[in-house]
């Protein structure tokens, strides 16, 4: 199991579109994917779970991956966060 802290940098936070992207990316991997935030732990392969995090810009989250392809999954997922889900220019 590996864990990493990330920050949500895109202005509109993890709303519907970033959440779709996150869940779809996670679905490519076998590893279990959870996000920790404010003492909650949600299954991040669930779009409704991700959405109920209500993670806005600046939110600090902890990503947890567990499985045979956890490293590759972490790399791709971190990139989504670093790229602001490709939505950096969005209001």
């Amino acid at each position: 199991m590996i864990k990493k802290s990330v920050e949500v940098i895109n202005p509109s936070g993890i709303h519907a579109r970033p959440a779709s992207l996150l869940v779809k990316t996670a679905a490519k991997f076998k590893s279990d994917f959870h996000i920790h935030s404010h003492g909650y732990r949600i299954n991040a392969k669930s779009i409704l779970g991700v959405l109920t995090l209500a993670a806005e810009q600046g939110a600090k989250l902890e990503i947890e991956l567990d499985g045979e392809d956890e490293k590759e999954a972490m790399k791709e997922i971190l990139r989504l966060f670093e790229d602001g889900f490709g939505m950096m220019d969005e209001e």
Binding site: R17, S20, N43, G86
Partner: protein, 590 residues
């Protein structure tokens, strides 16, 4: 289309032309017969199931999820086939993609199945309750952005339940009808769009809900938050909906209907003209060609900019790919994404120019090999990093040239942030070195002029380059010592400062003397007046974000080169920003 709305006049007539104010949600103007749409509320089954029925009930839910997902995919195709703006269409597609993800949510399915099993409730009620939990969680979340997703989730829930209850939404409406309802969800809008309704009016709704995005993407005028409108409008009466102003007019007079129809026809003409404008090249009133190009950063933008018909790509930013999986220290990149981006950009450019800027990143973006800097704007960035990380520079040059040398576009490679001649010569050497491997390739080498020192050295730089491109944003920031992101000094950051124009003028003169091509790719190119002056100074082409192309094109086509040259001379003599602004007013605008 951004022209002024409301060319029709609403006369006051007793008991007629009643105005109802709402919120403009999707642009457009329509007149048509009303259709009051009040779907029946759903009734959930109250029965309990027996444990032997659990499996069957769970199966029903799974198949309902699958059917609704299938339907969503069909809706996505349907809305993609509709006429409309590419960008909004991709938004609409993204919404439906979100719906599909919800329908595939593994937790959701597990929770519904669990509810059916433990509480022995039928599928429709299990669906209702599990969704309700999520909706409640979103309701208490602080952000509007998240609360506004609730209607979508409610929509998905309703569709699932009606599917489980085997109900079909049967709506009979004629083409051109105006749908008036309490509230409307995205899938209903798409179904109405299929019937070619003329407009939508709702009593409730939020501005950023998917419903309004879908209405926009389908080009259906939509007015929201019109209080009590379902009680006021009579079924089948003719009404006007104005999605520009956010108003509805009930009981309109014949005269009003006529003038609204005329206005609709006028707008159609304007829209066609705008489309015609896209097909025309950028040039002055006297026919001097000034290609108007587009700045691109992401692959996703490519489809959106096509309709503006840009005459090439004047600035292709590659920073987004800098953090591609790879070994930065040694310049070993996989670079698949960047290569695909280059290829797709080359396809967009066709036979026009494609100017690729080498990585322009600041030290703060390089976690692997840099310390945090006190002042990144004046720190280790742009060409400084490229020259310090020679392998990185080499590998990107190799990647660009190897990928693009066989395309018909006119490829140009551009170095960012140069401040002295040594950097130019050094980069040129690296470029020539890589080019040796491609003897048949015709690729130009150039630099960005975005620091005053580079502008002042333009005539010394010119012999070493094929072209220069002025980045007005950084040039302004470095000339005026003002960070445009810092609100405390925001008023100091002004691209119309005479010193900025003089540096551009100086660069333009040097380029003219050395026969070096000069373009501008900063935000100044998107300000129609300033862009026109740049042309007067001798700038050969302008590059900007795509939506700005039409307005710049319109202004250029109204002014002759002679006038712009005269204006440029005046601008170069200005002492203050307000003097510059006064002179810019002499430029003809539509």
């Amino acid at each position: 289309m951004k022209s002024e709305a409301g060319m029709y006049i609403i006369e006051e007539v007793n008991g007629k032309n009643n105005l109802h104010k709402g919120v403009a949600s999707a642009e457009g103007l329509a007149v048509g017969k009303s259709f009051i749409f009040n779907p029946q509320g759903m009734v959930l089954s109250q029965r309990k199931i027996t444990s032997s029925q659990v499996n069957e009930e769970q199966q029903k839910v799974v198949s309902a999820l699958r059917i609704v997902e299938l339907e969503t995919r069909k809706l996505a195709q349907l809305s993609a086939g509709e006429e409309g703006d590419d960008q909004q269409q991709s938004v609409s597609a993204a919404i439906l993609e979100f719906h599909r993800e919800v329908l595939r949510d593994p937790m959701l399915i597990a929770e519904i199945n669990e509810r059916i099993r433990t509480d022995l409730m039928p599928g429709d009620r299990a669906v209702f309750q599990v969704f309700r939990n999520y909706i409640q969680k979103l309701e208490v979340s602080g952000s509007r952005m998240f609360r506004e997703r609730i209607p979508d989730i409610v929509d998905i829930r309703s569709r699932l339940i009606s599917n489980l209850q085997q109900k079909e939404m049967i709506v009979q409406v004629e083409e051109g009808t105006i749908v008036v309802c309490r509230e409307i969800n995205p899938s209903e809008i798409i179904l109405f769009a299929r019937k070619k309704v003329g407009g939508l009016v709702a009593e409730r709704g939020g501005l950023t809900t998917h419903a309004s995005i879908i209405a926009k993407s389908l080009g259906i005028p939509f007015v929201l938050e019109v209080e009590g409108i379902t009680e006021i409008v009579k079924q089948g009466e003719e009404i006007v909906v104005d999605g520009y102003k956010g108003i509805v007019i009930s009981s309109p007079t014949e005269t009003l209907i006529e003038s609204v129809k005329k206005e609709i026809a006028n707008r159609e003409i304007l829209r066609k003209e705008e489309q015609k404008l896209h097909a025309e090249p950028g040039m002055t009133a006297c026919g001097h060609k000034v290609p108007l190009r587009v700045n691109l950063e992401l692959e996703a933008e490519i489809d959106r900019v096509k309709r503006f018909n840009p005459e090439g790509i004047g600035l292709l930013r590659t920073e987004a790919f800098f953090l591609d999986s790879g070994d930065y220290e040694n310049g070993r990149f996989e670079g698949h994404d960047q290569i695909r981006f280059l290829q797709r950009s080359a396809e967009l450019a066709g036979e026009s120019e494609l100017t690729v800027r080498l990585y322009d990143v600041g030290g703060d973006k390089l976690p692997s090999f840099s310390a945090r800097e006190e002042n990144p704007a004046l720190g280790w960035r742009g060409v400084r990093i490229l020259l310090d990380k020679r392998a990185l520079l080499h590998s990107q040059l190799e990647m660009i040239i190897k990928t693009l040398h066989k395309y018909p576009c006119k490829t140009r490679v551009m170095v960012p942030m140069i401040t002295n001649l040594e950097e130019v010569i050094e980069c040129r050497r690296e470029f020539d070195e890589v080019m040796k491997g491609y003897p048949a390739a015709k690729i130009d080498f150039g630099v960005m002029i975005e620091v005053p020192s580079a502008a002042l050295l333009a005539s010394d730089i010119a012999p070493w380059v094929d072209f220069m491109s002025i980045g007005t944003n950084d040039l302004t920031q470095y000339t005026l010592a003002a960070d445009r992101g810092n609100s405390a000094v925001f008023s100091y950051y002004n691209s119309l400062h005479p010193a900025v124009f003089r540096l551009i003028g100086h660069t333009a003169k040097a380029c003219a003397e050395h026969d070096t091509t000069l373009s501008v790719c900063g935000e100044m190119a998107a300000n129609p007046g300033a862009a026109a002056v740049l042309v007067g100074m001798g700038v050969d082409s302008l590059s900007m974000s795509a939506p700005n192309i039409p307005q710049v094109k319109k202004v250029l086509r109204l002014n002759t080169l002679a006038l712009l040259e005269k204006t440029a001379v005046h601008i170069l003599k200005c002492k203050t920003v307000s003097e510059v602004e006064d002179i810019l007013r002499e430029i003809k605008t539509p």
